[in-house]
Subunit: 350 residues, 2 copies
Amino acid sequence: MRGKYGTLTLAMVILAAFIGGCASSPDIQEVRPDPLPLWNDGAAKEQIIGFVDDISDFFSDSLVPVEERIAVFDNDGTLWPEKPLYFPLEFIFDLIEEMAEEHPAWKTEEPFRWVLEENYSAISTEDFPALIQATHGGMTQREFSRLARKWLRTAEHPRFEEKYKKLAYTPMLQLLEYLRKNGFKIFICSGGTAEFIRAYSGLAYKIPPEQVIGTTIDTRFEITDKGPVLFRTGNIVPPLNDREGKPVNIQRYIGLRPIIAFGNSDGDIQMLQYTTEGRGPGLGVLLHHDDAEREYSYDEGTEKALELAKENGWTVVSMKNDFKEVFPEKEEEQVKSGDQLSTGSGQGDR
Amino acid sequence: MRGKYGTLTLAMVILAAFIGGCASSPDIQEVRPDPLPLWNDGAAKEQIIGFVDDISDFFSDSLVPVEERIAVFDNDGTLWPEKPLYFPLEFIFDLIEEMAEEHPAWKTEEPFRWVLEENYSAISTEDFPALIQATHGGMTQREFSRLARKWLRTAEHPRFEEKYKKLAYTPMLQLLEYLRKNGFKIFICSGGTAEFIRAYSGLAYKIPPEQVIGTTIDTRFEITDKGPVLFRTGNIVPPLNDREGKPVNIQRYIGLRPIIAFGNSDGDIQMLQYTTEGRGPGLGVLLHHDDAEREYSYDEGTEKALELAKENGWTVVSMKNDFKEVFPEKEEEQVKSGDQLSTGSGQGDR
């Protein structure tokens, strides 16, 4: 029986391919299902699909071989929100509150005091190394991964009352899936610390740890009585994965220039320049947060990027107009299609 | 006609699968084709195939999900020779000779003088930063990649009278292919500089640039009148990708502990310890150069690793006894099966 049905199906596929081959191309385009149904029709959607069609069309001058189809995505503000606080900072602040009991001196010592007093506006980029040192160092790689996963399992977003890992934008998840189907290898390239991102990138985005570029914390190899471990020193390996640091790390980790870069803020400018201003095709995209009702509306920290988008022809995605939805319906499953990767959940625990 | 043959083949495949399913397992094993025909039967081959069978058997306690099947391979001395000189050094020395005309001071300045006088034994690890600075820095990423590819196209091995990139060991290429078929993602983790390895890893091993971990040279992002470039400073980003540096970089670049590590020298010890001494399955393999006739025979620089192999149960591959051949026959094609990746040839040139 199975053989018979197999035969029938095979014949039908061949027939369909033959008919398809004879049809004129406008007909084919009309029957093609919408690859991004969670995106409203408009310039942004058109530009993204047009670019992917162009670089994957065998007869196009812009054809890019599959192994060079690299896309880089910023994370905070691009794949999930970054308000009211940048999530990696939220993680750090929560850890500091948890660890404060063991560090009574922090009550008077800056920048820790500011965190404990929730005086977040006092904290600047210069304070990051000390805060990262205290929360990301002094433990093994495995211990840190456990801390990160625990936070992601329990902490909730103050406004959306939802676990952070469930706040990935569904139209963006759909875009990642669409690019993968078109042969893209997708890397996250974000300012957060790499092992924090790796703790959820598998589950949230189906992006395995080896495709995550973040700010790197140094480790030291040690043989202990429990076997070999990587001990986290807590020192940042320069550069911070932000601004000029992004293209530097893209070369370091990938070794190829991406053909798509997707960001949302001034920290993504250099990554977009690197992707779009070289030889060959390159698509730069910025997500604009203009949707106070469903998410947030703000321009601070993105002014320069939005200005350069106009100059350089980068695609600007309006969350308000281009996203049919922002987050998954609460009763629905988060990832709409396909299975979730198991990588990420157990990462670093072997 | 095509449909008819397709049908026939399909029916045969289904029939074969059915018969296979009914047969008892020893019969299946007997009819299974040898996955490593370029390897002689023996303990090494048995241990490698046994490990792969074990971690990919759905009913085994050692089953490792596909996304965690990470294998790391040293390059020099493991995938191709490292004698009479370590090939990355050969590349550096050739560049210094080429550049000497523009640097007359090198005639009296060490370590450059030693290179020009071919007094290689005078050069030690401490001299590497200066040699690397002079040859790997002061140019853009694209310019460097061109230098590396030019060398690989033209330079010849003094004994084998063959281009370096054609000296990959065929049994090792077959092993890479076998692991890929079993779901492994393979990374090179070698002491050479990353961009030098990336210039040939696609063509020689079908390993794309993003799966190459080498010693990293720092770059600086700059906007020039020719567009954005990565300017190579020539400084090494610590750690050197050797000894303790290997597991540190494996975590940094991959974020997962490998389950197979394959090396050949004392510089690979920590990578093998990290892979084999943690929780869960891990296979460590050392290639022993004991074949003066077909390649080289030496123990210097590998003594400690060979000793630890006994203690830790690492598999030792004897080039003499375990390799049916070492290099491709000169009249044959280098890569025996499948197409070559185009990645690597054009890398960095977009």
